[in-house]
Amino acid sequence: MSAKLAAALLVALLLPVPSMAAQVIVVNGDPPGVGFNDPTPAVPVGGNPGTTVGEQALYVFQTAAQIWGHRLVSTQPILVISFFTPLTCTATSAVLGAAGANWYFANVEPAVGGQALAPDTWYPAALAEKLTRQDIVADPNDPYEVFSVFNSELGKPGCLTGRGWYYGVDNNEPSTNIDLLAVVLHEFGHGLGFSVGPTSSNTGARALGFPSIWEGQMLDTTTGKRWIDMSDPERAASARNNQNLVWAGQKASNVVPSTLAFGTQVNVLEPASLGSAEAVPASFGPQLRPGGVRAALVAPDDGGGGSTRDGCEPFPQPGLIAGNVVLMDRGTCAFTVKVKNAQNAGAVAAVVANNTAGPLAMGGADPTVVIPAVGITQVFGAALRVAAPALVHVGRNVTVRAGTVLNFPRLYAPTGFAQGSSVSHWDTSATPNMLMEPFINLDLTSSVKNPDDLTWSLLRDIGW
């Protein structure tokens, strides 16, 4: 080791080490006495030391900001203007909240040391500032990078009554409460760039004709085109091309094998002409054994009700079912009820066919369900019903990862366009569940990166 090199290393040691984390700052936008300033006393819970309702809510927001901040790298602070305020409610439903990029920027020249933006392309504010290394101010009265608003009335009478926020930050919410941290993390994700942005996913139209930074990575596997190369009508069609719109970014696809589980399928052994089809394991009941289940698939009538195929009533002839796999249709009652009826009749597994286009990922909770269950498409279910009884194998497909096509993770693109959900989320066929799916699920951690989640990798693909 030369003295010169040692001296250089010593200088490196003495220089201030630039902080790699971004500052994500929650700006309290509420007036005194309400929202984040609600003085109602509260008992510290789940690692949240706040002693008022307002303090606890703010602590959760700041924890979410911390989690994102430790992952993001930027020299520019990210201001999140936040409100904790009454939003629309009924006794059984409520708007929980929302967040989004407060501004999108295009064609901003970088500061010294910054990076040029792709020309004529919209970037979410926080990302544009990270790349260009400058605070881009379009309106001095609205300098925030992210906008956020959440419902302060949750759980109060008339507002999802009795099911309020859980303010702990330990992912340990009781079943009667909603984990504020999970929802805020998800929404902040949108605000930081997990969104197709100003491009309308419904019509395909672009704001001022510029694409968003997402479009270069959005691939339609049917047409082989990326969104950036499509016309408006093509983008609108792609947004409805169920299961065939994927995120083709390199960083996200790199971590697919370490993040997503193997796929699940129903393979018809006899008649073999039916082949196999993708299935989605239910979120309740046991997981499929490694070897899966091999048995006859039957589709007997249940005890009546609106449909004899939906499994919502007990099966009157359990002898037809014992030891077999039962096929049922989605509808009328909870998935757990169907599967429990099949189980009570002696079934070894349950297969539920969707009643609309697309895959079916069944959720619910019933600890007394002890047989595995999977969801399949409506089309495959109809074919199975015609063929029943059939010999099937329900098990893993080790050639694909759940929620992927060509090893690219799917984006949510249901045939029936879902405003607010379509495109700007991972598809629901991903297993395990991802933070940025359109439904916020029980099994989420507070991690945004692999091996728990693909979300961070997608953000890296757009420049984070």
């Binding site: 005194p32 706040g50 629309t88 059984t92 009652c333």
Partner: protein
Amino acid sequence: MRYPVILMALALPLLTVADRSPALMDARAAEAVAPMPQVSARYAPEQLQRLRQSLVAQIAVRDDAEGVRAATDQEAAALGAPVSSVSEAVALPGGGMALRTDASQLSLAVAEVVDDGHVRISERAPDTGAHRSTVKGGAHVR
């Protein structure tokens, strides 16, 4: 003694980004969130009112079957008003363009009690009554 100094010099920058143990994260989080920030009303009252109004078009209603269906026009009207979907474009002084987002680009997290008594959390836009295909939402409940 030369080698330990060199090793430290190499290791310190790595430590700043690599140590993300839960304990350290917790400590950092605790340090960063206390004390609580001061109150600051950053929006003018009318501006905040406009934002709030843009977020009131929650449109799904609970159904006895699987939990949720699209609201009828009357129900949607009762739950909230539709919003503008016109974003505001601004020319930046130093060159470039800015687009101020509006509520049409937000997706709302919405919670509903489904028929088995659980709460389902899903996302939807504030300005539509379109029913979403409830793929996982049919049951991925909280």
